[in-house]
Symmetry: C2
């Protein structure tokens, strides 16, 4: 086991953080001191002078004060992303991703409608893993990415405007489960394919499971093009990137290539797959791929010649049956895969992986943690926090002790805390970076049972806030937060690392900005193009007259420059509502197929004369 | 002015509440004592012995404890209802109403899809006013209702299951703005029509605003049939029912019947309309109506003969320009309409209204409150709380003092508190009943500006929790709560008055319950009907094979009996996801138009073997 002195030195070297500003840093200081104290808790050697107790954890955010962190939570089959403030656990905003959302006009204006249409035209998706782009292993505030497990897609959210700006339909994947950045600089976003299906899935090989395949896809974060894919054996689910630009890890189940649960459960082991990305890139460069579905597909199955040489492109590491989560430690030393059906986690030494011929030798620890270990997060002080789905607990354990325990059978478990109930993912502040903050952890519990007022058979989930900044006092459950179905995973980012815009920059979109002087109505061959501004408390035209059957396009600009003064163009009985934030222009096209008077109005409460902000759409009968 | 002794006696008579249970009642006791104290604050005559200070207001709800109240907030143009817990301000659940929502499968299974289709087929609505059914002027826990301003509809939410179970497309209304129960026993739900349009709106009278009309609609809460409508002059917006089964009030603007803002603003006054419901029922009974759009339409315009006699069916009360909200005091004595563009509220004496020939004589108070008064709530201790949109404040005022002030010019204003920013509606606990709880008030502020971490140009609104239980210490701002666009109004109901079910009762729906022995696949003429159960962790069929082009119906039952164990049937690339709560059966029908293998799966994380809960849909090529 490493010595106490090693740890104490590590902490001090890692972050000289004992003289900073308000709440976050007060607590971070507490956390760092706590790190030393925790070892005291383990060993009894150190005094706990200077400890900040968990009872001091200030999770209150009084009216008018800001949170310390943004948390990006996936919305599961609601198809959206939700942004919480941490530690208040307040939901700051929703970001619709895979489905239309009317208050935001997402999927209503022509641009966002076309994006959803081009990405397959589905009305929903199953968003699991929101990951935020990094540069040099730290959040850079540019994008968040999230997968669609239901339709094999990956979406990008622009963090300047907190809106979805790209969705790619990933070829050759039916269920894109994991989503994860290639680190340190987000060279790729990886989509981890779960469902094995025939390739192409066009009716061939329907009942020939041996011919089914799944892939991982490397997506360029700038263009959202799929650069290449790698074919593998077995299903995959979660993934995480190493910190050093070489390895990407994915867990998987069903190494049996079965199709029934009993077939999928017959083997005693499954794999963690370690993708050697530079080796894959070399293979692509060398033309060692087949083009399938429009992308280079590299064969990374066990029998592939690309896995036969000195530097296999995919290393298959045997772990206990059906590992679920995998995450790389902040220092980049280990990939830790959770056992799910097995009470252990597998600690994979990443450096050893590169040096050994037998990848199984890279497993340097198998701590026994409890029932149903699913996912692991980090505090940057050498601890791992793993959800125990079946035990309904979070277990805190010492990573180095777990490595040592292989020989010494020492129990690396530091502490367990009950959560309510059945946690899936958990996330600690900046856990996916090289420098976790070590203060807050959120457990995403799938069931809430009786924790909240009864709201009928569809109960909320329960996102619980746990203070982990005081190793001496231990983990402290601070808040229960009901969550609409179905958050799967999250990323927590320090507030100062994201700098969203307050108003739109017209340079950032293609639509024509319509100022006061630009109002216009152009009619041509059954098409009407209306250009108008919106401003408290009117639209550029009081009346717009069209003919029954006309195809009508409205280009509307909100010419306000005051932040938070939104307008919309809502048209009754035409299913139209486009959102217009300050300086934003959107277009909407529809057919005016029913004669009559329709009061177009602004659906945002924009001024005292909000109700009066409306204009008439007059649709004249065709005859 | 009433005497101090009168008030003290009123409080004691109204509710002998000085020896009850935990938080709510502790605070209610404080509130009641505070009522006496408040007068002390006004007059200096009473001591403040026994006061519970606002600082004692316990808005924390520790992990595992329940809230005291359900709050039902509308979601504006998101088209949904949100349920908060009060005082935690946590969002407990969303209830999709006017648009599809995939996590809940709402608008995905055949039953809910058909309901949305029958109600016009729109993908969104503009939900403003959630009102909860009452019996004997108290919440009965049966239903909530909410309007759709965008498409002239009214929806009902079943509070056994917290789900939308009926939507009616209101004839002759383009924008149904107000929604409100006829009290004391919810005989009707009123839909208040805002937009004036030709009737019928089929292309006739396009640019003849004098012929435009709007109506209120009386909807039967059991059948959701529109029983009758009343034609009126001018636009209408908000409404509220008297407590006694006779009057219904609606505010309105545009008594000018104009179509531009300047036309709508030319008059100095507009109306509060008082509908004499039994008189209207008599007219309907007597056949004094025209049938339009399938419903009896009674003429309630000013020139109508039904308004010429001794008992006019609609009384037009002149108030300052563009009144906005109207609400009836808990004792049923007054209807208070807020001035919006005028700094006053109009206090209408309801008893006087019945006794006078000139309805304007029923106005017994016009307190000057501040800029932009919009809506008023009550604490049951004689105070009104009015939002001041332009001043960004809530003003607390004494109702009786305002009535007296007509003669004495005494200032009825007790206190103002800043809110952040620009409040629309506000709601106090059970304010719409005869017995408000007097502890919590929520101000629904339209702008949040810089109150939260920046999330881009579309900022959240801000629902602020204010403690009003201590008249002596004054109003206390307790919490800021970011809200996704765009809550308009709310109702707050004591937790014990709603008793939702934990699991479904199959007697409550028509679909066939599919138990273990009932699995079946029936094929006939290009139609395939699959009946299967779902249970941790499998579906009734491992494989389902159909032919390309088949119309496929799945009837699926979740046979679990354990609360909170939900399943779903998600079908990749088929845009299918139906939610199945315990004991719930749903059906979904789609065309299998693409050959291939599709992994149907459960999108709720239902067990440790959740990932393995999936079956194959095999679509064989047609040839």
């Amino acid at each position: 086991m490493t010595t106490i002195e090693d740890h104490a030195t590590d902490v001090d070297d890692r972050d000289p953080l004992f003289a900073r500003i308000p709440r976050r840093d007060f607590m971070k200081a507490g956390a760092a001191v706590g790190a030393v104290g925790s070892l005291a808790g383990c060993t009894g050697l150190l005094s706990d002078d200077g400890q900040v107790s968990a009872a001091d954890a200030d999770a209150s955010v009084p009216p008018g004060e800001h949170d310390d962190y943004y948390a990006f939570l996936s919305g599961g089959h609601s198809g959206e992303i939700r942004v919480y403030g941490i530690p208040s656990m307040r939901q700051l905003i929703r970001i619709p991703v895979f489905g239309r959302e009317s208050a935001r006009g997402y999927g209503y204006d022509d641009r966002s409608s076309q994006m959803l249409e081009d990405a397959g035209g589905y009305s929903w998706g199953d968003a699991h893993h929101p990951r935020v782009s990094q540069t040099d292993n730290d959040y850079d505030g540019r994008w968040a990415f999230v997968n669609d497990k239901a339709n094999g897609r990956m979406a990008r959210i622009d963090l300047k405007y907190f809106e979805t700006d790209a969705i790619v339909d990933v070829p050759n994947q039916q269920g894109t489960h994991g989503a994860c950045c290639m680190l340190p600089d987000t060279k790729y976003v990886f989509g981890v394919g779960e469902f094995r299906v025939p390739m192409p899935n066009d009716g061939r090989d329907l009942d020939d499971p041996d011919s089914y395949t799944s892939t991982i896809a490397a997506i360029d974060p700038e263009t959202m093009d799929v650069e290449w894919e790698v074919l593998v054996d077995g299903n995959m689910d979660n993934g995480d990137g190493g910190k050093e630009g070489r390895w990407f890890f994915a867990t998987g189940y069903n190494s049996e290539n079965g199709v029934t649960e009993s077939e999928m459960s017959s083997s005693e082991t499954d794999w963690v797959k370690a993708f050697d990305v530079p080796a894959i890139e070399e293979a692509v460069e060398a033309g060692e791929y087949e083009e399938v579905g429009g992308v280079p597909l590299v064969d990374g199955t066990r029998d592939s010649s690309l896995n036969g040489g000195d530097r296999p492109i995919v290393r298959y590491i045997d772990v206990a049956k059906s590992p679920h989560g995998v995450s790389v430690t902040p220092d980049g030393q280990y990939a830790i895969a959770s056992g799910k059906l097995d009470p252990t986690c597998a600690v994979i030494d990443i450096e050893a992986l590169a040096e050994t011929d037998d990848p199984n030798e890279a497993i340097v620890g198998r701590p026994s943690l409890g029932m149903g270990p699913l996912h692991t997060a980090y505090d940057g002080r050498g601890h791992a926090y793993t959800t125990l789905f079946i035990d309904s607990q979070v277990v805190k354990w010492d990573i180095e002790a777990a490595v040592e325990a292989e020989a010494e059978s020492e129990d690396p478990v530091v502490e367990k805390i009950d959560v309510h109930y059945n946690p899936g993912h958990l996330i600690a502040a900046e856990s996916y970076t090289a420098d976790p903050q070590g203060d807050w952890l959120v457990a995403l519990n799938k069931l809430s049972k009786d924790r909240f007022l009864n709201v009928g058979p569809m109960k909320p989930e329960n996102d619980q806030l746990i203070y982990i900044g005081d190793d001496d006092a231990g983990m402290e459950l601070v808040k229960d937060t009901p969550a609409y179905a179905e958050p799967h995973d999250a990323s927590i980012v320090s507030a100062d690392k994201i700098q969203p815009a307050d108003i739109y920059d017209p340079e950032d979109y293609d639509e024509e900005f319509v100022d006061h002087g630009d109002s216009d109505i152009v009619r041509e061959d059954g098409r009407v193009h209306v250009k108008m501004y919106s401003q408290r408390n009117k639209f550029g035209f009081q009346d717009v007259t069209v003919q029954e059957g006309d195809e009508v396009t409205f280009t509307v600009t909100n010419i306000e420059t005051t932040p938070d003064l939104l307008h919309s163009l809502a048209i009754p009985e035409h299913d139209v509502n486009i959102k217009l934030a300050p300086q934003e222009t959107r277009e909407v096209t529809f057919t005016a197929d029913e004669p009559g008077v329709y009061w177009m109005y602004c659906a945002f409460f924009c001024s005292a004369l909000h109700l009066e902000m409306r204009s008439r759409l007059l649709v004249e009968p065709a005859e």
